[in-house]
């Protein structure tokens, strides 16, 4: 203990304490976060769930979407958007919006899984719309990965990038990267077409084809990267930036050493 106390004024001590603090924060956050998101399995909506959902809606959503979810000049109507749209928007943390603007950003969800399913149940009663995909819809274990890649490159890659890294749209909007998206959220996004994204209904991309896409995106998310640092998988922009700064910087440093006069 004395030896530790003696080293507390060492210049590196600040860094060590900072690192330990960050580690501790990370551990606490992951424990608390996983406890909060381990929610109940979806089940058929009962009237109490709808009532609870209505209550949550009036408290948290109605200031923009209107008391009857009919929409206002600040926000669209939610009549007929379906449970899938609510589940997607709220479980990805996009709704409630942090601030009005071009793009709703992904952030930690504000509601628990149970609250989200109640909200979804309430919105579903307002008009027919896409339902939350079932467990069998999301079972992509036997889907064909290569065909999923074909479908992804034809229908998704133009905005979300060939590796699912996302990309820019107009007026501050962007197609988000797909690294954190769960299979259920991806399925729901295709069904409902959130924000600038077009709708890819089950009639244009069948549930079987959607499962192939889920398989491919999951593969992109989980496949190892033997090449090391991927620089965001954005292609030549970040790659040349790294080359120009790190590569040329090292060359300049070595050149200075070669040219300097020895002592």
């Amino acid at each position: 203990m004395n030896s530790l106390a003696a080293k507390r004024r060492h210049p590196g001590a600040v860094l060590v304490v900072l690192f330990m603090g960050l580690c501790l924060t990370g551990v606490i956050y992951s424990v608390v976060g996983s406890a909060a998101t381990a929610g109940a399995a979806p089940k058929a909506a009962s009237s109490t769930e709808v009532d609870h959902g209505r209550q949550l809606f009036i408290e948290g959503c109605s200031s923009c979407h209107g008391i009857g979810a009919q929409g206002t000049q600040n926000a669209p109507t939610l009549v007929g958007v379906g449970a899938a749209a609510v589940d997607f928007q709220v479980s990805t943390g996009r709704m409630p919006l942090a601030a009005p603007g071009g793009q709703a950003e992904r952030k930690p969800p504000l509601y628990t899984d149970e609250q989200i399913s109640n909200l979804a149940a309430f919105i579903a009663t307002l008009g027919p719309g896409p339902e939350i995909p079932s467990a069998s819809d999301l079972n992509f274990i036997n889907a064909d990965l290569a065909e999923g890649g074909d479908l992804f490159r034809t229908n998704c890659a133009q905005c979300h990038n060939f590796a699912g890294s996302g990309g820019a749209l107009s007026n501050g909007q962007y197609a988000p990267n797909l690294r954190q998206a769960t299979p259920r959220q991806i399925y729901e996004a295709m069904l409902t077409g959130p924000q600038a994204m077009p709708v890819f209904a089950n009639t244009t991309i069948t549930p079987q084809d959607k499962q192939k896409i889920l398989k491919y995106v999951t593969y992109l998310q989980t496949s190892p990267n033997p090449g090391g640092q991927d620089l965001g998988r954005l292609g030549p922009v970040t790659e040349s930036l790294a080359l120009f700064t790190i590569g040329f910087g090292a060359l300049i440093a070595v050149s200075i050493w070669i040219g300097a006069r020895a002592k």
Binding site: V199, T203, T204, P226, G227
Partner: protein, 351 residues
């Protein structure tokens, strides 16, 4: 002769010479560099010698390690490396040791030069660029001898045929430029696609026919003609696909401000060529709220609710629209082929 004010005056043979009192001899101008530690301390010299030898030795050792690593480490084995992330152990160890080996050879050589090789400056005198008169006279004599021997002046027929050949030689170089200009070509090659009246519209790449009710408002479908598959198999090329790519979008009929022809939509479903009119990139970045279609190559933006007109970017022509309808069974089909050539400009294009 008086001084010209620059401390330099012409000498008899016309070459400028320095005035000895203005400019000191080169060696006297030197800033005396302090000697290096290795110049005065034999122990420092020995240490530097050992350092260089150590670098060369390590370079050899790391080269051997890199060979061993390449053979011994399973290429599928992953390790976590800070900053780089999860990556192949084989790549990391081979690359690091081989790179270090190369670097140490270079670093050892530089260290050797900086610490142990002589460090005084030397002056390399420039010589006159002009050859001396005897050499010049010799060269002229050799040339003259060759020219006389060739008989260029006497042998008229050879001289004239050579001049003729030299005059005609550039013609092939000029004529190949003609290939860049307009030419007589089957207008179908660039001007027409395989879309025709009653051609079924199918999804790409899954080749399923579509009914109007399959496409929701806000929906986007990447589509191709049904006959494409057969044509691709027959031709074995992607030429037909490169021209026939189509996108279908559905708007509420009230959102459509204008179209390229009356009733070219089907209940709010619009069909546009997928090929950008700027330089022909396939485009399907569709923002369903603004009905804008963005080209990823040069950011041309087309407003599909307003005849596919250009709202931004380098494209200068609207995106061609395909008139569509349904067949007797209720499937979406083309009402006709494209009414104008799709894609970027070409010489033979009339508009």
């Amino acid at each position: 002769m008086s001084s010209n004010g620059h401390g330099i005056e012409p000498t008899d043979n016309g070459v400028s010479a320095h005035k000895s009192d203005d400019l000191a001899p080169v060696e006297d101008q030197h800033v005396a560099h302090p000697p290096r530690r290795t110049d005065i301390d034999p122990r420092a010299e020995r240490r530097a010698e050992h350092q260089v030898a150590t670098m060369f030795g390590l370079a050899g050792l790391t080269a051997i390690v890199s060979v061993v690593a390449f053979v011994a480490i399973d290429p599928d084995r992953l390790i976590y490396v800070p900053v780089i992330g999860e990556t192949s152990a084989n790549n990391v160890v081979f690359g690091a040791t081989f790179g270090l080996s190369m670097f140490l050879i270079g670093a050892g050589a530089i260290h050797w030069a900086r610490q142990l090789m002589p460090a005084q400056e030397v002056v390399a005198e420039r010589h006159d660029l002009t050859s001396d008169p005897a050499d010049r006279a010799d060269a002229i004599a050799v040339y003259q001898e060759g020219a006389d021997g060739s008989g260029f002046a006497q042998r008229k027929i050879i001289r004239r045929s050579l001049l003729g050949a030299m005059a005609l030689f550039p013609l092939p170089l000029l004529i190949i430029l003609r290939g860049l200009g307009p030419k007589v070509m089957d207008p179908q090659v660039l001007g027409e696609t395989i879309w025709k009246r009653n051609e079924p519209i199918v999804t790409d790449p899954t080749s399923r026919k579509l009914r109007p009710q399959d496409i929701p408002v806000g929906g986007l479908v990447n589509a191709v003609p049904e006959s494409l598959k057969e044509i691709e198999e027959r031709e074995g090329t992607l030429n037909a696909r490169a021209k026939a790519g189509l996108i279908l979008v559905r708007l509420t009929p009230g959102e459509i401000r204008s179209q390229q022809g009356d009733g070219w939509d089907y209940q709010g479903i619009l069909a546009f060529s997928k090929i950008c009119t700027h330089v022909g990139c396939p485009i399907s970045l569709y923002e369903q709220r603004t009905h804008h279609l963005l080209c990823p190559c040069h950011q041309s933006t087309f407003d599909l609710a307003d005849s596919g007109s250009v709202v931004f970017g380098p494209a200068r022509r609207h995106l061609p629209q395909l008139p569509i309808t349904v067949d007797a069974e209720g499937y979406l089909v083309a009402a006709s082929g494209f009414q104008e050539p799709i894609g970027p400009s070409f010489w033979e294009r009339s508009s």
